[in-house]
Point group: none
Chain length 216, copies 4
DNA sequence: TATGAATGAGAGTTCATTCAT
DNA sequence: AATGAATGAACTCTCATTCAT
């Protein structure tokens, strides 16, 4: 039942369907901007235009709010990515290159990117959340990479190396870019003139050459 | 830095000039272990063997303590490394491989490693020391890498690519390893059975193959 | 109080006149089970099958709901008991013993028992209904006891003691049992193996021996 | 180290020795007056003349504060009571009579009496505290009674009845008096003219007659 | 110089109550 | 008459910072 454009937005009262989305968006903004611990639920509520109590109507705790943010923005999308990978028309090198740019478009260039840095920063203080993120995000992502590499090795497109360590080869550029984006002021040589796509292109290129089978 | 024999050890009373150092050391340990927010100044003081009040005698706030810790610990080992690089007997590939393992030995495997993660985590909260860290650590490190790559390209050992982006190719494995070490629970597929040296070997190997000049 | 046949059952729509009763019943259950403070009005409403808002349509506050519950449930069974007592065929000792077990059957072993504890617990917060409870329940009950004792002393079956204090002798076992039932976890030595009837038997026995006239 | 009367009370600063006692006293007052849940720690602190934070310097939680109150006022005194009982010069009837009045003097007539009612009222909502109270207060008290009864039965001074139920015979008057004191407005026939000692005398008298061995 | 008792602003969370629909 | 989304005050507990000694 989409509101017709002429219907004035209900200032107060029933917004039940819209609320969780608004809260999730406000929460994503603030978590990414200030970190998990430093984000106050009251501020999230305020940014979503509701009171503190209202937030707890939709999310039973700050922790669950954060998990919902992660689910909404990342874990919920793995099935789609898996689908894409399964039906990908192209060889494994093309797959990896595609994945790099797809990641950039959907995650790296958006504020969702900040969640990665957040987890790295706060994992030790919130083990439960860290475990959740590992299970919902990191392991599924590593599994996608594993599938590609396995297929590439099986077909002879990639050389034969320890799969579990090879995953890190693929992951490193994305992880580095995530963190560089989040801490631009520290990591990037020339922040005003940095082209992520060029960065990814070079990384993909170098990686894939390295993965090729080698002459005796 | 052993005390010179001429400075008599204070027989009784407090070695007052030693206090700040002890506090800084305690603070480094705890900041690295728990992060900034989760470190309580009382715990720092306790670990240094003084009272909470005493800490505030030397550092006017937790924030200043943090700044002092970072400034104290990120110092001039670069001249030594520059020296080593300058006199290195070997080609550029060997240099990079050597650098990876030297980094692991001196930084990656020690608690200093934690400072990298700390800076990434807190950079936004302390722009001033982020800048400091960038100037004192990140840029010099990137410069070392730049020198190696430039030499390698000049000699034809490496293919000709955009130098500024190539730096990230070399940096990525170390940055990733730094953060994986600091947030084991999240990033590593099989944390109980992870061999950093193997990780570095594979990364170096793949990197160097990718950097080789290419046929046609 | 069955609906008279002339009032047609509302086929559709809500049986609005039934609402307060359902709410009171739900509230009794919950107040007795969890105490006043720990009972949430939302839970009361839910148990009565209505929304929280509806509850406030009938009772302007939690406090008024509580008062209504107590008033509703402490009713006039005393005339019946008075009747029973008046026509009791047996001596006063038998009367007391009978009263003990009748109390157990009709009050002590039912949820009404919880109202006693509730009043003891909340009397200070609700002086008005404490007074009500005193007048409607405690004093009438004490009066029944007084009658028995007076008759027993008059007939020589009981020894001659201060009537007003003797009332407490009779009351104590019931009061204790009421509270023990309501706070089992605290008071009873072996809660899994406690027999209220045996408890009452022993109390009655001991009490009645004590009340007998004594030899010089 | 009692302050000499001339020494002015230290307005601020070191009171460490005195603080816990002041807080315990304030806490006892408020817990007894308002119940456990309704007592706010801030109010306890205020009554003791300190800030909320200070209270938590001495007691890590509200629960521990309550336990400390119970220990200070009741459980800590059982060893003395056990001692008294062990060395009591008199028969078991005299013991019980003595115990009744000792209880009255030390507990029943003081505000400590209110703790009993508090526990009965809130036991169901705070199971951990209830367990604590059971172990620290109720069971030890019942054990004292058990000892007396056992001795009395062994010597033939009391008749032979089920010990575990007989405990309640002794306990009932004290429990009833505790609750009547705490809820005067409800339970006592003539509150302005009630003599607890007379009440106890009559109860003890009746109880002891009942406990005597009976002629065939 | 050193102490550590004391502070008090906030944190997450709960729930009786309100009110637009 | 009935709803249930929304509120906001109140609760316990934390911890960086202060200050009398």
């Amino acid at each position: 039942m989409p509101e017709s454009p002429s219907s004035p937005p209900a200032k107060r009262g029933r917004r039940k369907e819209a609320r969780p989305g608004e809260l999730l968006e406000a929460a994503l903004d603030l978590f990414v901007e200030k970190g998990y611990a430093a984000t106050r639920v009251e501020e999230v509520a305020a940014r979503a235009g509701v009171s503190k109590g209202t937030l707890f109507l939709y999310f039973p705790s700050k922790e669950e709010l954060f998990k919902a943010v992660v689910r909404e923005n990342i874990s919920g999308r793995f099935s789609e990515w898996q689908e894409t990978l399964t039906h990908f028309a192209g060889n494994c090198s093309e797959m990896i290159e595609y994945a790099f740019f797809a990641w950039w478009e959907r995650i790296g260039s958006t504020k969702v990117n900040g969640l990665g840095k957040l987890m790295v920063s706060e994992a030790n203080n919130f083990p439960e959340i860290a475990l959740f993120y590992r299970n919902e995000v990191v392991l599924p992502a590593q599994d996608l990479i594993r599938q590609i590499l396995k297929r590439g090795m099986a077909s002879g497109e990639f050389r034969d190396i320890d799969l579990e360590y090879a995953i890190y080869l693929v992951q490193a550029p994305l992880m580095q870019l995530d963190l560089m984006q989040s801490s631009k002021a520290i990591c990037i040589v020339n922040p005003d003139n940095f082209d992520p796509q060029k960065y990814l292109k070079m990384h993909a290129d170098n990686l894939l050459v390295g993965l090729r089978p080698r002459a005796a």
